[in-house]
Amino acid sequence: MQMFPLEAKQAVVRRQGKVLVGPIDLTLQGQGVTIVIGPNGAGKTTLLKMLHGIARMNAGSLTWACPKDEAQKRQGFVFQAPVMMRRTVIENIAYPLRLIGVTMAEARQRAQDWAERVGLGHTVKQQATMLSGGERQKLALARALIRNPDVLFLDEPCASLDGRATREIEEILTTAAADGTRLIMSTHNMGQAQRLADEVIFVLHGRIHEFTPASQFFAGAETKQGRAFLRGDIVE
């Protein structure tokens, strides 16, 4: 069943009286990689969480083309600081499958397969809490991708990673995108945005400032703030 378009109408997220995001009107179509950029505190994380459905909306609506519970099952989310469950690496990766009733043996086998795909094959028996930052991100990616989600949200998956780890993760993401997974990802890294993006959402002060195809955005943003952000100026 078709999930897209995803439509947000006048969506607002407030916390303690402060508007973090919104009101937002946004329609996302079913293909490609959407990159969310913007300065710190602009509301990128909240926007992603809201679209994913784990940040409660205070106003407005969010509708998928399919029923809501159906849509929830077909999404994944990778957090900026990945949550390591206190288990071994393979158990972490297999966990989402165990949740939907896949047998232990099969879940482990598929987890092993994914661990190798993301380059964690040698660590499967380790405790996940002992992994390094880059390995944690890879684990989180494998864990999010193992259910073959149609949509994957990523909240700065490469923050505080070095070039090599970043490249490895980008490779995994490109493969996933080529396999038809819709990626919606926030980043601070302009180079990464240019490498991956098909379309760009520029967020400022909790609102969508610009939403354009990547080529157009990087060739010259429509708004003054967008151009300033591209130049690397400080946008406030």
Binding site: Q75, G76, V83, R86, L99
Partner: protein, 278 residues
């Protein structure tokens, strides 16, 4: 009346906080009887020493009575611990993942009940189990079962409270991930109980420590009947009352040794200190 409680409070205060204060002086002023007449300090030291040697010989010769009451102590407390953990741990996990209206109050009450006085628990259980009480027909009073019931009531709040403290933290870590993965309430509780098992072990061991050393409640509901409900703690109370200080001390040392051994054994079996960072 107020005057009396003031002076009583003062005496307690002076006795508790002035280290050099002489209890005999206070009690003689108040006209009370000295509970330990004629005993001097060197004799108390020799009690300690002969207690140790007696404990040693009781252990080496595997004294039949000693083995019996030690095993009964273990059986009663471990059974109570199992039942209490089966109630308290899932409840603690439930309190962590579920937000409901009376949650805060429940947690506050649970914390308060950690300090439940065992004697009062014993008394209440006694009333319920006595012939004329609501559960009198089961004839449980003065049986090990009654002791188990009393201990379960004493340690459930303790285990649940300690377990909740650590599970709440773990839930803080897992919250976003498990919600994002679309887990059911039951799956969340499962994940917390499994991944928090080491912290839960600590909670259970705290419950064990309280139960094995407890005397007030099991004395009342068990009755300290020889070969039926006598356990280490009630035996110690009895021997102390009889003036058999050395034997009482011997039993005391054995009780401590038992508690330490069980703790070490459980830690050993669960690899608590050897794996991971928790």
């Amino acid at each position: 009346m107020a005057n009396l409680s003031f002076w009583g409070g003062l005496v307690v205060f002076v006795y508790c906080y002035v280290p050099s204060c002489d209890l005999e002086a206070i009690t003689s002023v108040l006209g009370c009887r000295d509970p330990w007449p004629m005993r001097s300090k060197p004799e108390a030291m020799s009690d300690l020493w002969s207690g140790l040697t007696q404990a040693f010989w009781l252990l080496v010769t595997l004294d039949a009575d000693l083995v019996e009451i030690s095993l009964r102590s273990l059986r009663v407390t471990l059974t109570a611990l199992l039942i209490a953990s089966a109630i308290a741990l899932p409840f603690a996990a439930f309190l962590s993942v579920r937000r409901f209206r009376l949650r805060r109050i429940t947690i506050a009450v649970l914390n308060a009940l950690m300090g439940l006085p065992p004697v009062v628990v014993g008394l209440v259980v006694y009333v319920f189990l006595s012939r004329s009480g609501p559960f009198g027909v089961f004839g449980l009073l003065f049986t090990p079962t009654a002791m188990i019931i009393a201990q379960v009531i004493i340690i459930v709040p303790l285990i649940a409270s300690i377990a909740h403290q650590s599970l709440r933290e773990l839930w803080g870590d897992y919250h976003d991930l498990l919600i994002s993965m679309n887990t059911t309430q039951f799956q969340r509780i499962q994940a917390l109980l499994w991944d928090g098992r080491r912290a839960l072990l600590t909670a259970a061991l705290a419950g064990f420590g309280r139960a094995i050393g407890e005397v007030g409640a099991i004395m009342i509901v068990g009755g300290n009947i020889d070969h039926a409900t006598r356990v280490l703690t009630t035996a110690i109370a009895l021997e102390t009352g009889k003036g058999e200080f050395a034997l009482a001390l011997a039993l005391g040392f054995i009780l401590i040794a038992l508690a330490v051994t069980v703790n070490l054994l459980i830690h050993r079996l669960s690899h608590t200190e050897s794996e991971g960072r928790w």
